[in-house]
């Protein structure tokens, strides 16, 4: 076996892959949340639709997005491989339930991860797939309708937002005098429709709760696996893992369906 294969086939190597893909997925969450903050703007979805177009058409981001899909797959596959080998390491279990004092999230990473995978599949089917469906079909079927926004460039105010009738459109921005016109796929409308269903909102909130607990253990655990356990920096990692990844990010994401359900 080559040195490289030996490294990544070892128990620590597999854990390294889990840690690196996990941390990469964490960084994506920051980008995803900051972009989605556009949903909170009262501009008929103009900023959000522009952002959705940017994320799907800007080449470097497309490359990163393929890395992201790969990371989700690898993280899942290695989780299964490691779990199977862990089960094999204890063929006969204990009769009495363990009473060792450990955190709930660290014991339930598999369960939390499964909820998240289910969430990712549904989430991507409803938004990512719908958005890309036209590209896949190759025809102008327009699963998601287009919207036209007119903005006064002098005052920065939105003049109008008009749903376009079904037809063949492409993302475009052009200026006539001081008026800027933007035509974009109205993903915002898909979001509005989805977040008006109470069970859909409930599922999102549950999934984001799972995300919170998954990252509460996962973020600091990844650094531990990498071997970054320096006494001076460990508290910083714990702080970021708890407040940013287990509190702010899940709360930020959960606020979107909740606000759309109650306030829009």
């Amino acid at each position: 076996m080559s040195e490289f294969k030996q490294t990544f086939n070892s128990s620590l190597g597999k854990k390294l892959i889990m840690a690196l893909t996990g941390l990469f997925l964490c960084t994506f969450l920051i980008v995803h949340l900051s972009g989605n903050l556009a949903l909170f703007k009262h501009d008929n979805g103009q900023a959000f639709n522009a952002y959705a177009n940017f994320m799907t058409h800007f080449p470097p981001i497309r490359v990163v997005s393929y890395l992201l899909y790969l990371s989700i797959l690898v993280h899942t596959i290695y989780a299964i491989v490691l779990t199977v080998s862990n089960r094999k390491a204890r063929p006969i279990g204990y009769a009495s339930a363990t009473k060792s004092p450990v955190s709930w999230s660290s014991k339930n990473m598999g369960l939390l991860g499964s909820i998240l995978l289910l969430f990712i599949v549904i989430h991507m089917k409803d938004f990512w797939f719908k958005y890309h469906q036209d590209d896949f079909a190759g025809k102008s079927t327009n699963v998601i309708p287009f919207k036209e926004y007119k903005t006064d460039l002098v005052t920065g105010k939105q003049l109008s937002a008009r749903d376009l009738p079904p037809g063949d459109y492409k993302y475009a921005i052009y200026t006539e005098g001081s008026v800027e016109t933007m035509v974009a796929k109205d993903l915002n409308q898909t979001v509005e429709v989805a977040f008006k269903q109470w069970w859909y909102v409930a599922f999102y909130v549950i999934a984001l709760g799972a995300l919170s607990f998954h990252l509460l253990h996962g973020f600091q655990s990844a650094f531990h696996t990498l071997g970054w356990v320096h006494r001076k920096y460990k508290p910083i990692i714990y702080f970021i893992g708890t407040w940013l990844f287990a509190v702010i990010i899940p709360l930020g994401f959960a606020a979107m369906p909740v606000i759309y359900f109650f306030c829009r």
Partner: protein
């Protein structure tokens, strides 16, 4: 004290075992857990039954021989002690106590509550040593070592190899044990010559023995009778990746 014991009885590694219930009567609360088992065994012997087989040796918490998974915790309900240091006053009168052997594929049951922990010996032999030159006896304290380093290495060296970390781990991982052995030598100047090959050989042997993988859950740290900290695992990971990815030293440079 009168207690009910649910004890795992298994004739040998080939046969499957089962729980058998025994009464432990008129037990003094000042007895250690192993002395309580001695009393039970004496009554079993008098009745002509096979006594309960369990591992023990020094009975003062330093040899690492005693084990026992008691009511869901290795070495029983108390923190930072071995089973031989556990006293019956830690239990209530009339309590039912479930006693199981360590459960891990790498620790096969020999008989009843005793398991074969020679996997640990093989990991230790794979790299847990330092090279010393023969010749005159060197002066004591000849090599300066900062106190913090000496203390930290000594903390890791207190591991008695009892296997409670494996027993407590939900994945039956041996990483706390291996990392303590890697750390205690890797931190000191005497351990430097083999530092990068040691971590590779010991981890390779650990994987070969069929232990599970660490999920940084921390049950090992909580149950270790010597309070070996999880930091050791981080240190081992660091050394391992450093050795594998950045050092020009293969696993077999020293090991073979």
């Amino acid at each position: 004290m009168n207690l009910t014991l649910k004890v795992w009885r298994q004739k040998n590694a080939q046969t499957s075992g089962k729980f058998v219930t025994y009464k432990a009567e008129s037990i003094s609360e000042d007895m250690s857990f192993l002395e309580m088992l001695d009393v039970v065994n004496e009554s079993l012997t008098k009745k002509g039954e096979e006594p309960i087989y369990f591992d023990h040796d020094c009975r003062e918490g330093i040899c690492g021989m005693c084990s026992l998974y008691i009511n869901g915790r290795p070495h029983g309900p108390k923190r930072a002690i071995t089973t031989c240091q556990l006293h019956m006053r830690s239990f209530k009168d009339g309590e039912t106590i479930t006693i199981e052997p360590w459960r891990a594929a790498a620790f096969p049951v020999i008989k009843d509550l005793a398991v074969d922990r020679s996997a640990f010996d093989r990991i230790q032999q794979a790299g847990g040593y330092v090279s010393i030159n023969t010749g005159g006896v060197p002066d004591a304290n000849e090599i300066p070592i900062p106190k913090v380093i000496a203390d930290e290495a000594f903390n890791s060296a207190t591991c008695i190899g009892c296997g409670a970390c494996v027993a407590a781990c939900k994945n039956a991982s041996a990483m706390l044990f291996v990392s303590a052995k890697v750390s205690q030598l890797g931190m000191l100047p005497q351990g430097q010559p083999e530092r990068w090959s040691r971590v590779q050989s010991m981890v390779a042997q650990m994987d070969e023995e069929g232990f599970g993988n660490c999920t940084n859950t921390g049950a090992c740290e909580a149950e270790c009778p010597k309070e070996i900290s999880l930091t050791n695992i981080g240190r081992m990971n660091n050394d391992f990746f450093s050795a594998k990815l950045f050092r020009e030293e293969g696993v077999h440079d020293h090991a073979q």
